[in-house]
């Protein structure tokens, strides 16, 4: 397998493994716990390195998982004291853990190669060269095995506990009443996040793993209202980020993991602006349409109310509209122009009157207002 294929595959597997718990982090508004955990596992990894007298995957996993659990417990203990706000508790715990990790590295491993930069943004470039040897048998790149296993574990977790996760996320009260402990589900999710972070850590580092967990899930959240579809979309967006990121990195000769995470941010931006249901553009257009419809209704109802009054001529004057309906003159001109285009009103010598269609709309609007009001 060529190095490029290994890198892309690793990226796709990281994206998949991260997106699964990431969806629930976003929905449960706990995204920053991923950030905290990803930083806080550093002392655990160092401790694993220390105990195993060198780089060892099982020791690293054990140490990092332990550190992650300690972090989650510490954050919750701090929040529980009610002396510290939720996000402040996170802001105290993870820098302390990270500082401890950096301290251990510089104190005891200054001469060993434990690259601190790689801690932050990983070393996916070496994925192909780090092969798994069992009794001199070359089983291929280790990262593929690790991330593949994590994907399977996470898929199993989400697949088997889908109902429970869904319930505990959207209605914790009901979940508790039905006998699914929200606390248990919370810790199970935290455990999955921790293990995934540890696994992805060597490939993409502490901070980029946060991007893989949060950005695709958040983008998917803007695109669909269905949980199952949201998970599928998050995985798809994550994989697309990994693939496109690799090409960007190739073109710029820059960090592969960084480019992949950047692409996930770009995909999020696209969803943020152009999602047909929740995007900023669609939202602005809906709001504009709503405003326009209301204004048109107001205009024709106003004209209808004054249709057979002596003052009709005066009431219908455009300049007068702006003061009567409290519109700015510009807005009034714009609404009248649209009403004319839609043939709701007609204008003669600066005076407005309703067309047949306009009168119908006005009667409908007035009737619905009376009925509902």
């Amino acid at each position: 397998m060529s190095a490029s294929v290994v890198m892309i595959l690793t990226g796709v597997l990281v994206a998949t493994a991260c997106a699964l718990p990431g969806v629930f982090l976003v929905l449960r508004r706990m995204a920053m716990m991923a950030d905290a955990i990803s930083h806080a596992i550093l002392p655990g990894i160092v401790a694993g390195y220390f105990l195993a007298q060198g780089p060892s995957l099982p020791a690293g996993f054990a140490g990092a998982s332990l550190a992650a659990i300690v972090t989650v417990a510490l954050v919750e203990a701090l929040q529980h004291t009610r002396r510290v706000g939720g996000e402040s508790a996170i802001g105290i715990v993870f820098p302390a853990m990270f500082a401890l990790g950096v301290l251990l590295v510089s104190k005891y491993f200054a001469n060993v190669h434990l690259d601190t930069d790689a801690v932050l943004y990983g070393n996916i470039e070496f994925a192909a060269f780090d092969v798994w040897l069992v009794n001199d048998l070359n089983l291929g790149p280790r990262s593929l095995w690790v991330m593949g296993a994590l994907c399977v574990i996470n898929l199993l977790f989400v697949g088997l506990c889908f109902k429970e996760l869904k319930l505990a996320t959207f209605d914790p009260g009901l979940a508790a009443a039905l006998g699914f402990s929200p606390v248990l589900i919370h810790y199970a999710l935290m455990a999955v996040v921790s293990v995934t972070t540890v696994g992805a850590f060597t490939a993409v580092g502490a901070i980029l793993v946060v991007a893989f967990m949060i950005a695709p899930a958040a983008a998917a959240y803007l695109l669909t209202d269905d949980l199952g579809r949201m998970i599928a979309l998050a995985i798809g967006i994550g994989a697309a980020s990994a693939l496109s990121g690799w090409f960007v990195a190739l073109a710029l000769d820059a960090s592969v993991a960084g480019a992949m995470a950047t692409m996930s941010g770009l995909f999020f931006l696209l969803a943020l602006f152009f999602s047909p249901s929740h995007g900023l553009v669609a939202r602005a257009r809906r709001l504009r349409r709503q405003r326009l419809r209301l204004a048109l209704e107001n205009l024709v109802v106003h004209l209808l109310n004054h249709e057979h009054q002596v003052s009709e001529a005066h009431e219908a004057e455009i300049a007068h509209l702006s003061s009567e309906l409290r519109w700015s003159p510009r807005f009034a001109r714009w609404i009248v122009a649209i009403a004319k285009r839609d043939q709701l009103v007609q204008q003669a010598n600066g005076y407005l009157s309703l067309t047949a269609a306009g009168r119908d709309l006005a009667r409908q609007a007035a009737a619905s207002r009376d009925r509902e009001g």
Binding site: G86, S88, P95, L103, S264, F268
Partner: protein
């Protein structure tokens, strides 16, 4: 004694100590408002988001002048804050989600740029990755002066707008109903926090900056229930952590300054949480134990 003499006369040491203490004062004071507005992690995000700004500033000017790089960092932090606000205000993604996305993807972009610069073969790139972990030991007098000017400006703004910031942090809708422009106030406060972050990047780096904004404020809150006292105390705690961290790392060459500052700060936070009068957890536990014993005695 010798240590003290070193302190006063050693040029490097004086700069490092002064710089760290200054950073502690500025981030301590501003951190109070961030923590009280439940935006404790804003500093974390701004610090990470600064990285692409630093890289772009370098790519544009090809200069490693601190002030240019810091301007880049400030601009990027500003864009990040703005984007976060848009996400929270106009979508259903929660505040934490917005923080997480902006933090991680801005940082990722920064990493792309950083590796791009490095591999371009510039010999002169080394100053840039110092921002990741901070390089307190490399602070020179010029840096300290820059920090003092920027920090002084931020503190002056806090003094001027103390009343408005307090109202904003306590009850923003009420502030708006009185006619204060809460959006403008929020932007101003965020900009001041950007200044604190930018000062901190050189000293403690991207990752540890979060603690410098949150820690002193949380510690100070345990000792007092007045905002004005909390701000002063928080600034003092920040400075103290800076000084202790510097001192420890000077006593042992292998101990890096940034992490030592953060660990000293964590110590101050833990002591305050446990031992502060009234709010201290130790007193709480003792009161409870006493109550239990009294109930037992009654039985």
């Amino acid at each position: 004694m010798e240590l003290l003499r070193d302190w006063l006369f050693d040029y490097t040491l004086r700069n490092v100590a002064l710089g760290s203490a200054l950073l502690g004062v500025v981030s301590g004071a501003l951190g109070c408002f961030a923590v009280l507005r439940r935006q404790g992690l804003l500093g974390d995000v701004l610090a990470h988001a600064a990285l692409p700004g630093i890289c772009i500033a370098y790519l544009l000017t090809n200069a490693k002048t601190p002030i240019v790089l810091l301007l880049g960092a400030a601009a990027a932090g500003w864009v990040a804050a703005l984007l976060m606000m848009q996400i929270v205000r106009h979508t259903r993604i929660g505040e934490d989600g917005a923080l997480g996305i902006v933090l991680s993807t801005f940082f990722a972009f920064g990493i792309v740029l950083l590796t791009f610069i490095t591999k371009r073969g510039d010999a002169d790139h080394s100053g840039l990755d110092a921002f990741l972990f901070g390089q307190a030991a490399a602070l020179v007098e010029e840096d300290v002066v820059t920090m003092a000017v920027l920090g002084g400006f931020a503190l002056l703004a806090v003094a001027l707008f103390y009343k408005e910031f307090k109202l904003l942090a306590f009850d923003a809708p009420f502030a708006a109903s009185l006619g204060f422009d809460t959006n403008a106030l929020g932007v101003l406060l965020t900009s001041l926090i950007v200044i604190a972050v930018v000062i901190g990047l050189q000293t403690v780096g991207v990752v540890l900056m979060a603690a410098l904004l949150v820690g002193p404020a949380v510690a100070a809150r345990q000792w007092t229930s007045r905002l004005s006292a909390m701000i002063v105390l928080s600034a003092l705690f920040g400075a103290l952590a800076g000084l202790i961290g510097t001192l420890i790392s000077v006593s042992d060459e292998s101990l890096p300054t940034g992490p030592m500052i953060i660990l000293s700060l964590t110590g101050i936070v833990l002591l305050s949480l446990c031992l502060a009068p009234e709010r201290g957890l130790v007193w709480d536990a003792m009161r409870r134990a006493l109550q239990r014993r009294m109930i037992k005695a009654e039985d």
